[in-house]
């Protein structure tokens, strides 16, 4: 570590401990490969692949160490002072690790998938460079220890995803990129206003249990409500809360791995994660409740859930249908957060992981259809299950999970959300969940029906990868969805076991609701 | 005032009178050539008179000669510039004023 990184003690000596370096190493394990990849010539495929995968594996390794450490009571904090009173803080707490783990695991598989997906296409150095930067930003968002650090990486995420969205360079892609930027940068600006305002009031906004804002007296209630509105509006853009969701369906022009990453891990999830952080650790859930901020949030989330599902019903384009589904599903997280009470929290936070696994499965599969057979539309999917059984099987698991069929991941989320709603005294949320589930079924089941039970009526739009030795598509494309589909199944089945996402979520909830024991 | 002072004053006054004449000529004369006559002759004589007038007031020989030097330089400049301006005016076709034909015209058109 160079001079200036790390904490200067009184004598100006720089001391960096292992516990401080680990968060940095997690960041560096994708940042450095990203930067190296940028400078690699286009044709150095092998070297690039090696960098990518080494980075991904290293990151998983570092995270594993931290997971182990956190379980054993270690704390991982790194601080770097940018300005007096303004620090970059990386902290590996339970919530952070939940998200970091999710993104690292999914990054690994998405990388594999992307290597297969982009085989032979141009500008791969650029693509993987930004891809790595994007993950770096996500990790930064996850491990941010204060609102400032969160904001820094939140904006970095915007910038590093833009080149991925416009990667194809078509006018449609550029248009979509423009819309994407317009939304996210405006959101970022609104968020910044909220952040600066809050810093002005507090002098620092470290993420803390019970919320830092709760230290302010009642005379600040009005200002704090305004700030809350700004923060949620800024985060809501990425989290695709209605009516700030307009960019997401447009961004579907991006290559499938990008969509997968955007929806499951990076952009959307960063917004949702931010909402979690703001409600729990900036305001504190009790304080937020006392400012009566939670009910409106729940209402917005519910509206988004219903609206997204409704819109999804009418999309023929598979990826667009999935996109609207994302809008709907991600709001479960916000909903869970808005439900006052530990059980709702559990539902929301566990959905952070579950939705990621399920949705990435679905996008991998959608990418497979498009890449292998040129299928982009639901109406072209008749009989595809028999041409691509493995892919369709994975898709089926993901879809059923989304609907909430037990014992899949989605069921766990919905169950706790329902319980949480009752606990919070908002029974109307149950109705929302019910309607949403019905709608989920209404837009997923027809797909499954077409894939499995309808015969192929027309030739595939463009069969790019022929059937070879019984392999329906390239193995790099097939492996990732199968793994994530299996995960969907496993996290549901073994939800009660230690180290499962639900278990971690309980850890988080226990931090927020101090006198609650799961 | 001493006699020398009187002499000085007279020269100065005469010089001023020439300057006045030059100016009046500049204002009254009908064309550029005649005005040049007025300037080149009256003013230089005026300057000469003033220089002579001031010679009587000079502190030293060198100072006096410097005044004369100034006059000589002015003379040279004046003579040269008069020529150049008149020449150029002629080249540009400006005809001299004639008593029987007042007004400006080009000499190559008449």
């Amino acid at each position: 570590m160079g001079e200036g990184l790390g904490v200067r003690d009184g004598r100006g000596v720089v001391s960096v401990t292992v516990n401080e370096t680990l968060p940095l190493l997690v960041l560096a394990s994708s940042l450095i490969p990203g930067l190296v990849i940028f400078s690699l010539p286009e044709e150095r495929h092998g070297l690039r692949r090696a960098f990518n995968l080494t980075g991904a594996v290293l990151k998983l390794l570092f995270i594993a160490i931290m997971l182990w450490g956190v379980l054993h009571g270690e704390s991982y904090v790194f601080r770097y002072s940018v300005l007096p009173g303004l620090e970059l803080v990386f902290k590996a707490d339970a919530l952070a690790l939940l998200f970091v783990t999710l993104s690292a695991v999914l990054w690994f598989f998405t990388t594999l998938y992307a290597i297969g997906y982009l085989e032979g296409s141009p500008h791969r150095s650029r693509f993987f460079g930004f891809f790595s930067l994007c993950v770096t930003a996500t990790v930064g968002v996850a491990m941010a220890g204060n609102l400032f650090t969160f904001f820094v990486f939140y904006e970095l995420l915007t910038l590093s995803t833009y080149p991925l969205v416009v990667h194809r360079g078509t006018p449609a892609a550029l248009r979509a990129g423009g819309v994407y930027l317009a939304y996210t940068l405006t959101g970022g600006a609104v968020l910044l206003a909220g952040v600066v305002w809050l810093y002005g009031l507090l002098g620092q906004v470290e993420f803390t249990q019970g919320g830092v804002a709760s230290t302010l007296g009642p005379e600040y209630a009005g200002q704090l409500r305004m700030i809350f509105f700004l923060l949620i509006a800024g985060l809501g853009v990425k989290a695709a809360l209605v009516p700030l969701h307009g960019w997401l369906p447009q961004a579907m022009v991006a290559p499938a791995p990008v969509s997968a990453l955007l929806h499951a891990v990076a952009v959307v999830k960063a917004g949702a994660f931010g909402i979690v952080r703001v409600v729990y650790e900036v305001y504190g859930v009790e304080f937020a409740q006392s400012l009566s901020l939670l009910v409106p949030l729940a209402v917005v989330a519910s509206l988004t859930i219903v609206w997204g599902s409704l819109r999804a019903l009418f999309q023929d384009d598979l990826k667009r249908r999935l996109a609207y589904s994302t809008i709907s599903q991600v709001s479960y997280i916000a909903l869970g957060v808005a439900l006052f009470g530990p059980v709702g929290t559990l539902g929301g936070i566990v959905h952070l992981v579950h939705q990621g696994i399920m949705k990435i499965t679905l996008f991998f599969c959608a990418g497979n259809y498009a890449e292998t057979l040129g299928i982009h539309k639901v109406s072209d999917m008749d009989g595809v299950g028999w041409r691509m059984p493995w892919t369709t099987a994975a898709f089926t698991i993901g879809a059923l999970g989304m609907i909430g069929v037990p014992p899949l991941a989605g069921f766990i989320s919905k169950w706790y959300l329902g319980l949480g709603a009752l606990e919070a005294g908002m029974p109307w949320v149950l109705a929302v969940l019910a309607v949403s589930t019905l709608l989920n079924a209404a837009y997923f089941l027809p797909i499954l029906h077409r894939a499995w039970f309808r015969p192929q009526t027309a030739p595939w739009p463009a069969e790019n990868i022929p059937m070879k030795n019984g392999r329906e598509t390239a193995w790099l494309l097939l492996l990732p969805p199968l793994v994530t589909a299996a995960a969907t199944l496993l996290v549901g089945l073994f939800a009660a076991s230690p180290l499962s996402p639900l278990d971690w979520a309980k850890l988080v909830a226990a931090r927020e609701y101090l006198n609650w024991a799961p | 005032m001493s006699g020398l002072d009187w002499l000085s004053a007279i020269f100065l006054l005469v010089g001023a009178a020439f300057f006045l004449a030059g100016t009046v000529g500049l204002l009254r004369f009908p064309d550029v050539y005649t005005r040049l006559h007025a300037l080149a002759k009256a003013d230089n004589l005026g300057l000469g008179c003033i220089v002579i007038g001031l010679l009587f007031q000079a502190d030293s020989l060198a100072a006096a000669l410097k005044l004369v030097l100034v006059w000589l330089l002015a003379l040279a400049a004046s003579a040269t510039v008069s020529f150049l301006v008149a020449h150029r005016a002629w080249r540009r076709g400006i005809a001299p004023w004639r008593a029987d034909e007042p007004g400006i015209r080009r000499h190559d058109e008449s």
């Binding site: - | 020439f18 005649t34 007025a38 002759k41 009256a42 003579a79 020529f83 020449h87 002629w90 001299p96």
Partner: protein, 162 residues
Amino acid sequence: MPRFPLRALFWRGALFAVLWWILAGGRADSWGVGLVSVALALAASLALLPPRGNLPSWRGLAEYLAFFLAQSVRGGVQVAGMALRPRLDLHPGVLEIMLRLPDGAGRVVLANTLNLLPGTLSVGLEGARLRLHVLDTRRPVAEEVRVAERHVARMFGLRLAA
């Protein structure tokens, strides 16, 4: 003139030295810079106006000056009279005269001199042809020009053409 123009060098040097003396007001401490300046001026002068061998004659110069002074007083008085008279009484016209001076500085000095003499203004000088603007065509200008020409020729030690 292949011979090193020692005489010209001396006279011009003396002239510049005198001029310096005038400029510096006779101060003795000025001669350090003064000598350098005089030398430079002398060099410039030799480069710009290479001496032609024949020095101006002192007598010619004196006569010329006397003539010039007298005539310019006359010229000034004449013009002043014309300017200040209540009614303008001008009879201008243009006159061309073939000069008898040889080509060179002499002609220019003459043309310039005429500008300061009564009633004449040089308008053009091409070769030997001198074009004059005269203030009063009724006066014998041509004769006066000849007189002036003679004075200039004598001062420069030149011979007039026939």
